[in-house]
Amino acid sequence: MEAVLEQVAPKDEAELAAFVTDSRAAGRRLRIEGGGTRLPSGAVAADTRLTTRDMAGIVTYEPGELTLIARVGTPVEEIEATLAAEGQALAFEPMDHRVLLGTNGTPTIGGMVAANVSGPRRVQAGACRDHLLGVRFVDGQGRIIKNGGRVMKNVTGLDLGKLLAGSFGTFGVLTEVALKTLPMGETQQTLAFPGVSVRQAVEIFSTALGTPFEVSGAAFHDGTAWLRVEGLAKQVGYRRTRLTALFGSRPIDLLDEAESRRLWRALRYVQHFAGTPDPVWRILVKPTDAPAVVAALLEMGGQASLDWGGGLIWYGGPADPSALRRAAHPGHAFLVRGPADAPIFPPEPRAVSDLSNALRRTFDPAGIFNPGLMGA
């Protein structure tokens, strides 16, 4: 069914606005995509695929202001390369979903914002939404709207960028995003703790993240826990020494810069679940709840890894969706790869879903943006 959908790729904001206005009048339901690498194909009940990939290009990049503005179709890879040339990066380390999902296409900066995609450094640096300074988008009435701006401190009016980030296209079609960039650490190293349990791993994470040594990655898989330190060369050496002393009684292996970069790239892309047959879930929990949640999940089969100091569980396995969500409670479980019939998003309390649905009708009165996704 997906294969026969007509695809529309507006060249600019005005063309997009006209198409949305027409779609509203015609009752045409739209599947909103950037590169189409992140959403399962059956997640949306649509008549037409609307891709933003032709609205591309970096508008401005000011390294001295830590600010980048790009049209949404710009490939994430292009942006990362541009920033890297100035020694900067998107601090939240966005994941490339192609590895885990086996999708084709080119991940775009718009898709990244729409899905609020954040990787391992989220535990220290915040999420994608924390680095979003401003947006331009077309709402469900075809209006072109701007919110926020290009400066780091801005409290002028309501912050609609936060609503758009993570709304998966249901509130509007993003056309341009302004992001805060940050200097990349000069170098990095990783401490590996082999032979630890999930409980021990979370204890290591809580201890390490409670120190001033600015741990920028805290993950666990297959019996090994990892802590990453980044920064200027002197800082990294100092922080590594202090952390090693702090966990003096435990065996610790040291990964050098190249090994460290390889490891965190693999963790960022959840490579360990690539090509496995089972559904994959992303589960947000209070870090100290992680051991109990993981134990309950593993009783249902499968494997689990941790990121964000235990605050993020990646689970690949056959667990029944309802049983899994019960085990995750009060955490939130998102289906990232798996059976088309299971809901992707976790349920919300009625008062919250009422508000969310009312807001969605405000932005998209005719319900033409990604129908079926995010509860409505």
Binding site: R129, R150, K153, V155, D159, K286, P349
Partner: protein, 486 residues
């Protein structure tokens, strides 16, 4: 009189004052409702003192449930509600109207939970900003946003205004450090968003609430992200004879890959006032930067050396590194007393526009030109690393027309900020002060969708009336709400 217009109070509400106070008193503990005009006078203004209006009544709840009860009554009786933290808003965000009830969070003072293993603190929203970090000090943690009013201002107000502070270059502002809230809607319904988890189950309503200036809901509890205290911090002072060169120094530091926790800027007008007032020993020059770095001794020394190398290329008139705690205090003393020092000279308006860092020199030049045109002196003291400016316009409140002239001058500066790609307010909020300038930053559709969001949360337009949205822009919604209530 001043130039910002507030709507005429609703006569139908004013005549029902006794009935409204009786209903609130019946639902809340005896001392939680204030209606005596002598006592409500204490709530007639916030830190934007040029604007005053005693409210109909004041409610001081101790629990979320009491807030909900008060909100339900106001909702049913069609009474407007003005939320108030400590009343330190510089933008008139807590200014009452004669027909509104002030709902103050001052008695919501409990610390509910400290969890260092999961790195959060949960508090009632009336606790002060500084007391949150004080609670955390024995645990070796702190709460990062540090607005300069932090001794008095509450977490409720910080969330309403998305407050920043001097250290947000590294740590972000309130919205980056807020994990969850318990809040009360206009109807009195209690809603919880987020919690000690790094993400929302669906839409990021939390991000929408933060900075919404009391337009959408009243926050009664907050879960805040906490951070381990750094091992040490060291400020340095760099003096320049040119604003442009000082601005260039800021850009070069940032481009070098360093991320200082703070880069503050003071101009010559401010430096002279501060020197007279605080005797901080600042150099007599055109611009001073205070740059602070954090870490261990070794890490600090490394960062200081890198910053010195950058500054030296620009021929500073002075580069002073703090050698001990006393010298650190001395370097910060002048900056922290800047507003007080200016206040001693006369009345002032404190602006809050943000500009892209590369536009700082141009903006400073324009402010200087406008200062001559308006015949009013202006001092500049601000967070340079993120471009958040605080021009202080000096005027004489006793001189007829001076406040109006200062306001017009301020409006013009803010328009310059918007024109160079910045915004009207970086951390103080819109309130009433920048309300009528919103249309210079936002086109009609940009405004419309914000008001539609407001309308979705508060269809009666009862929450924090006449703030944020220009009255002309919001009139259709307010008229519809009034027709709905009638």
């Amino acid at each position: 009189m001043s130039t910002i217009v507030m709507p005429e109070p609703d006569a139908a509400i004013l005549v029902r004052k006794d009935e409204i106070v009786a209903a609130l008193s019946a639902a809340l503990p005896g001392d939680a409702v204030i209606s005596d005009p002598d006592e409500t006078k204490a709530y007639e203004c916030d830190a934007l003192t040029a604007y005053r209006c005693p409210p109909l009544a004041v409610v001081l709840p101790r629990t979320t449930e009491e807030v909900a009860a008060a909100m339900r009554i106001c909702h049913e009786m069609g009474v407007k509600v003005v939320p108030r933290g400590a009343g330190t808003s510089l933008a008139g965000g807590a200014l009452p109207t004669a027909d509104s009830v002030i709902l103050a969070t001052l008695r919501l003072r409990d610390v509910l939970e400290i969890d260092t293993a999961n790195r959060f603190i949960r508090v009632q929203s009336g606790v002060t900003n500084l007391s949150v970090s004080a609670e955390l000090e024995p645990e070796g943690f702190f709460y990062a946003p540090d607005p300069s009013s932090q001794l008095a201002c509450t977490i409720a107000g910080n969330i309403a205004m998305n407050s920043g502070g001097a250290h947000c270059l590294k740590y972000g502002v309130t919205t980056n450090n807020l994990m969850g809230v318990r809040m009360v809607l206009a109807t009195g319904e209690i809603v919880e968003l987020g919690g000690p988890v790094l993400g929302m189950p669906g839409l990021d309503l939390l991000g929408l609430i933060c900075g919404s200036e009391g337009q959408l809901a009243i926050v009664t509890e907050a879960t805040l992200r906490i951070l381990p205290r750094p091992q040490g911090a060291r400020p340095m002072l760099i003096g320049f004879d040119s604003a442009e060169v000082a601005g260039e120094c800021v850009a070069r530091i940032i481009r070098s890959g360093l991320l200082p926790v703070a880069i503050e800027y003071m101009d010559d007008v401010c430096l002279r006032a501060v020197e007279d007032f605080a005797k901080a020993g600042y150099p007599d020059c055109t611009a001073v930067l205070i740059v602070e770095v954090e870490g261990s001794e070794e890490e600090i020394a490394d960062q200081v050396a890198r910053i010195k190398a950058i500054a030296d290329q620009l021929n500073p008139v002075e580069f002073r590194i703090s050698r001990n705690a006393d010298e650190s205090l001395a370097i910060w003393k002048g900056r922290k007393s800047a507003f007080g020092a200016m206040g001693r000279i006369g009345d002032y308006l404190c602006l809050d526009g943000t500009v892209p860092v590369s536009k700082l020199p141009y903006t400073l030049k324009r402010i200087g030109e406008l200062s001559k045109e308006y015949g009013l002196e202006v001092a500049n003291v601000f967070h340079a690393g993120d471009g958040n400016m605080h021009p202080l316009i000096l005027f004489n409140a006793n001189k007829p027309g001076d406040l109006e002239r200062a306001e017009a001058f301020g409006a013009e500066i803010l328009r310059v900020c918007v024109d160079v790609g910045g915004c009207l307010t970086g951390e103080h909020g819109v309130g009433i002060e920048k309300r009528d300038l919103m249309t210079s930053q936002y086109a009609p559709d940009d405004m419309a969708i914000q008001m539609e969001v407001k309308n979705t949360f508060d269809p009666g337009w009862l929450l924090n009336p006449a703030k944020v949205f220009p009255l002309d822009s919001s009139r259709p919604y307010r008229d519809a709400a009034a027709r709905g209530a009638a």
